[in-house]
C-alpha cells in the first residue's frame, strides 16, 4: 500500500479533512468573504458593481448550501493533519519574512542550511555543502543569466548592494 509520500501530486483535493472543524471554519470564512464582497459590490455604481454582484450572490448561496450540508453530515476530527501542515507553513512564512527583511543573499543560505539540518536531518558538513552549491547555482541563474538584481532587504544598509537598504514600493 502506498504511503502518503508516494502519492502523486494532484489538483484534486484530499479526501480527508472535509468534514472536520477546520473545514467548517474555512467554509464559514469563505462565506463571510463573499458576504462582505457582495455588500461592497452593492455600494459601487451600477456598471462597476453589476458583475461582482451577480457572481457574489450566486457564490454566497452556494457557500450557504455547503455550510448547511456540513452541519447535516456532522463533524469529524482532523486536528492532527492541520498541525503537521502548520509546521511546514511556519518554515515558509519565516523564509518569506527573512527574504523581505534581510534579502536573498542572506536568506537563501541561512534558510537552506537550517531547513536541511532541522527537517532533512542532514549532517553539518552535508548541509553546508548542499547550501553552498544551491546558493551558487541560484546566484548564477538569477544574476548572471537572468540579470535580475536580488532583493537586498528592508533592514538599514549593512553591505552596499548586497545586504540592506532596499526600498520597497508602498503597499
Amino acid at each position: 500500500m502506498k504511503t502518503d509520500s508516494q502519492m502523486p501530486a494532484t489538483d484534486e483535493p484530499a479526501p480527508a479533512a472535509k468534514n472536520g472543524p477546520g473545514g467548517l471554519v474555512f467554509d464559514l470564512l469563505a462565506t463571510a468573504i463573499f458576504a462582505a464582497a457582495l455588500v461592497t459590490s452593492l455600494q459601487y455604481n451600477r456598471l462597476q458593481g453589476l458583475v461582482p454582484t451577480i457572481f457574489c450572490s450566486i457564490t454566497l448561496v452556494l457557500m450557504i448550501a455547503i455550510v448547511v450540508s456540513r452541519f447535516a453530515r456532522g463533524p469529524e476530527d482532523d486536528v492532527a493533519e492541520d498541525v503537521v501542515a502548520g509546521r511546514a507553513g511556519v518554515w515558509f512564512v519565516c523564509y518569506a519574512a527573512a527574504i523581505i527583511g534581510v534579502g536573498f543573499y542572506v536568506a537563501i543560505p541561512v534558510f537552506t542550511f537550517l531547513y536541511l539540518r532541522q527537517e532533512a536531518q542532514l549532517k553539518y558538513w552535508q548541509a553546508l555543502l548542499f547550501t553552498a552549491g544551491a546558493s551558487i547555482l541560484l546566484y548564477g541563474a538569477f544574476v548572471k543569466i537572468l540579470y535580475v538584481h536580488p532583493w537586498v532587504g528592508l533592514v538599514p544598509e549593512l553591505v552596499a548592494g548586497y545586504i540592506g537598504g532596499g526600498i520597497a514600493p508602498p503597499l
Binding site: P8, A9, D11, G23, F34, T59, F142
Partner: protein, 517 residues
C-alpha cells in the same frame, strides 16, 4: 491551419536557439513528470516567472515540453517502482510494473516511449485536421457567444470536479472575485482594493499561480516528508537491453488497430474541457481489455494494456489543445496554466487567438510534437539513470524549488511584496485542497474573469442595454443548454453520492448495533 503558417513555424523551430529552448522544455517536463509529487502543473507554475521576459514563441516551446513530456516522465516510476509520477500514469502501473518485475523493464520503457510518441503525433494530426472547421465556427462568435463559452467552460470544469459541483462552482466564484480586484478599463475605476496601491493593478497573475499551484504543493510535500518514491532498488535487466528495446518498439508498430483506437479515445477525451488526470488512459485501457482476446491477462504484464494507456495519455494533449486555443476553455488542468501564460504574454485567450496569433498556436502545436521526439530519445537511451532521481528525498528539493518560486516571482516586477502574494496564494491553495475545493476552476476563473466581464458589458452595449442579446443567437442558446445540462448532471451525481453516503452510514450503524447485541 494554413500550410504556410506551418512551414513558417517549422523554419522558426529549426533555429539553434529555439531547438535549445525545446530541449530545455523537454528536460523540465521529464523531470517534473518523473518526480511523484511534482506534476506538470507545478512545473508550469514554476517556469512562468522565468518565461515572462521571453519571446512568446520560445516560451511556447517550454510550455509544450512540460505538457507533452511529463506523462512520459511519469511512466518511468510507474513501470519501475509501481509509483505513478503523475496522476495520469496510474494505469501504467497495472501492466508496466509486472513487466519490469519479470525482467522486461527495458521493453516496457521502449513501449512507453514509442506509445507516447505515436499518441502525441496522432493527437496533433487530429487537432490540425479539425482546426479549419473550428475556425469557420469561430467566425460566428461575437461578444455574447464568447461570454457563454467562458460560462460553459467554468461550469464544465466545476461539474467534472471529483469533489462535486458545489465546491467547484464556489471555487470558480472565488476566482472571479479575485479577478475583479483592481482597476477595470470598462468603467475606469477600481474595486476591492481597500485603498491599497499594491492592488491597483489587481492580484498579480504569476505570483498567484506560482503560489496557488507550486508553493501549496511544496507545503504539502514538506508536511508529508519521506522519500519521493519508496526505497526500492531500480532494477532493469541489463543483459538483452537492446533486444528488449527493439521488441518494445515493434510491439507498438505491429498493433496499429490498438494504437488508432487508443489515440482517438485520448484525443476526444482531451477535447472535453477539464477532463484531465487518468480519464483518457482509464477509458482506453477498459476499451482495450474488453475488445482484446487476451483481456483476462490485463494487469499481469500484458503489453497491450500499457500501449493502450500510454497512447491515449499522450493523444489527450493534442485534443486538449483544441478547446484551449480555439475557445479559451482549457482542455486539461495543464492547459489552464497555458491560458494564464497567454495572458502573461499579452495574448488574449479565446476565439480571436487563432486569427490574430496563429504563429503562437503553431509553435505550441509543433513544440508538443517535437519535444516528444526529444524526450522519447532521451528515455530510450538513459531510462535507468533518469529513474534514479525518484530516490531523492523530498526535503532536499524543497529549499531549492521554494527559492526558485520566490526568486522567480520577485524577478517579474522586482517588487518584494509579490513574495508575500505568492506565500498567501500558497496557503490559499493548501487549505482549499485540504478542505475539498478544487483549484482549477479558481485558476481558470481568475484568468478569464476580466474577459468574461468585458464581453458581458460589450454584449449589453451592442444591444443598447437590452439583455435579450444573451439569448439571441443559436450558438448562445446551445451553450446555455449545455451549461444547464452539465449542472443537472453534476447535481444528480451529487445527490446520488449523498444518498450512497447516507446508506453507508445507516449500514454501519446497523452493523454496530448488531455487534453490541
Amino acid at each position: 491551419m494554413p500550410i504556410d503558417a506551418l512551414l513558417h513555424g517549422l523554419a522558426t523551430l529549426m533555429r539553434p536557439d529555439m531547438l535549445l529552448t525545446l530541449f530545455v522544455g523537454s528536460i523540465v517536463g521529464l523531470t517534473f513528470g518523473l518526480l511523484p509529487g511534482l506534476s506538470a502543473i507545478t512545473g508550469m507554475a514554476l517556469v512562468l516567472p522565468f518565461t515572462f521576459g521571453m519571446d512568446p514563441l520560445a516560451a511556447m516551446l517550454i510550455y509544450a515540453g512540460i505538457i507533452s513530456v511529463s506523462p512520459l516522465g511519469g511512466s518511468l516510476p510507474a513501470i519501475l517502482l509501481n509509483t505513478p509520477g503523475t496522476p495520469q500514469n496510474l494505469v501504467s502501473c497495472f501492466d508496466g510494473y509486472p513487466m519490469a518485475k519479470r525482467g522486461e523493464g527495458s521493453r516496457a520503457i521502449a513501449v512507453t516511449s514509442m506509445s507516447c510518441l505515436v499518441g502525441t503525433i496522432i493527437g496533433v494530426v487530429i487537432l490540425l485536421a479539425l482546426l479549419p472547421f473550428v475556425k469557420m465556427i469561430l467566425l460566428k462568435f461575437r461578444a455574447p457567444e464568447i461570454f457563454w463559452v467562458i460560462i460553459f467552460g467554468l461550469i464544465a470544469l466545476s461539474g467534472i470536479s471529483r469533489q462535486g459541483s458545489l465546491k467547484g462552482l464556489a471555487s470558480g466564484g472565488f476566482g472571479l472575485l479575485i479577478a475583479s480586484v483592481g482597476w477595470n478599463d470598462v468603467f475606469a475605476g477600481t474595486r476591492f482594493t481597500g485603498g491599497s496601491l499594491y492592488l491597483w493593478d489587481g492580484i498579480p497573475l504569476i505570483p498567484f499561480f506560482v503560489g496557488l499551484l507550486a508553493v501549496s504543493e511544496l507545503m504539502a510535500m514538506s508536511a508529508r516528508g519521506g522519500q519521493i518514491a519508496s526505497n526500492v532498488s531500480i532494477d532493469i535487466e541489463v543483459k538483452g537491453k537492446a533486444r528488449q528495446t527493439w521488441e518494445g518498439i515493434l510491439d507498438v508498430i505491429l498493433r496499429p488497430g490498438l494504437v488508432a483506437r487508443s489515440s482517438l479515445i485520448g484525443t476526444f477525451v482531451g477535447i472535453v474541457p477539464g477532463a484531465g488526470g487518468a480519464v483518457a488512459s482509464l477509458m482506453s485501457y477498459a476499451a482495450a481489455k474488453r475488445i482484446s482476446g487476451t483481456g483476462n491477462t490485463y494487469g499481469t504484464g500484458n503489453v497491450e494494456g500499457l500501449i493502450a494507456s500510454e497512447v491515449s495519455n499522450d493523444a489527450k494533449e493534442g485534443g486538449a489543445l483544441l478547446p484551449t486555443v480555439a475557445f479559451g476553455i482549457p482542455g486539461s488542468p495543464e492547459m489552464a496554466i497555458v491560458l494564464g501564460a497567454f495572458v502573461m504574454h499579452g495574448l488574449q485567450p479565446g476565439p480571436l487567438l487563432l486569427n490574430e496569433h496563429m504563429d503562437v498556436v503553431v509553435m505550441l502545436v509543433l513544440g508538443v510534437m517535437a519535444s516528444q521526439v526529444v524526450a522519447s530519445a532521451l528515455v530510450l537511451l538513459g531510462a535507468t539513470y533518469i529513474a534514479h532521481l525518484t530516490q531523492i528525498r523530498v526535503k532536499l528539493l524543497i529549499p531549492v524549488i521554494l527559492t526558485l518560486c520566490f526568486a522567480g516571482t520577485f524577478s517579474i516586477r522586482e517588487n518584494p511584496w509579490d513574495i508575500i502574494a505568492t506565500l498567501g496564494a500558497g496557503f490559499l491553495g493548501l487549505y482549499m485542497k485540504r478542505f475539498g475545493y478544487p483549484l482549477m476552476p479558481l485558476a481558470i476563473a481568475f484568468v478569464l474573469g476580466e474577459l468574461l466581464e468585458r464581453t458581458f458589458h460589450q454584449s449589453l452595449m451592442m444591444n443598447f442595454g437590452n439583455y435579450s442579446v444573451f439569448v439571441s443567437s443559436p450558438i448562445s442558446v446551445t451553450l446555455i443548454v449545455c451549461s444547464l445540462a452539465v449542472l443537472a448532471w453534476s447535481g444528480a451525481g451529487w445527490l446520488k453520492g449523498r444518498r450512497s453516503a447516507q446508506a453507508e452510514t445507516a449500514a454501519e450503524l446497523a452493523a454496530e448495533r448488531e455487534l453490541m447485541d
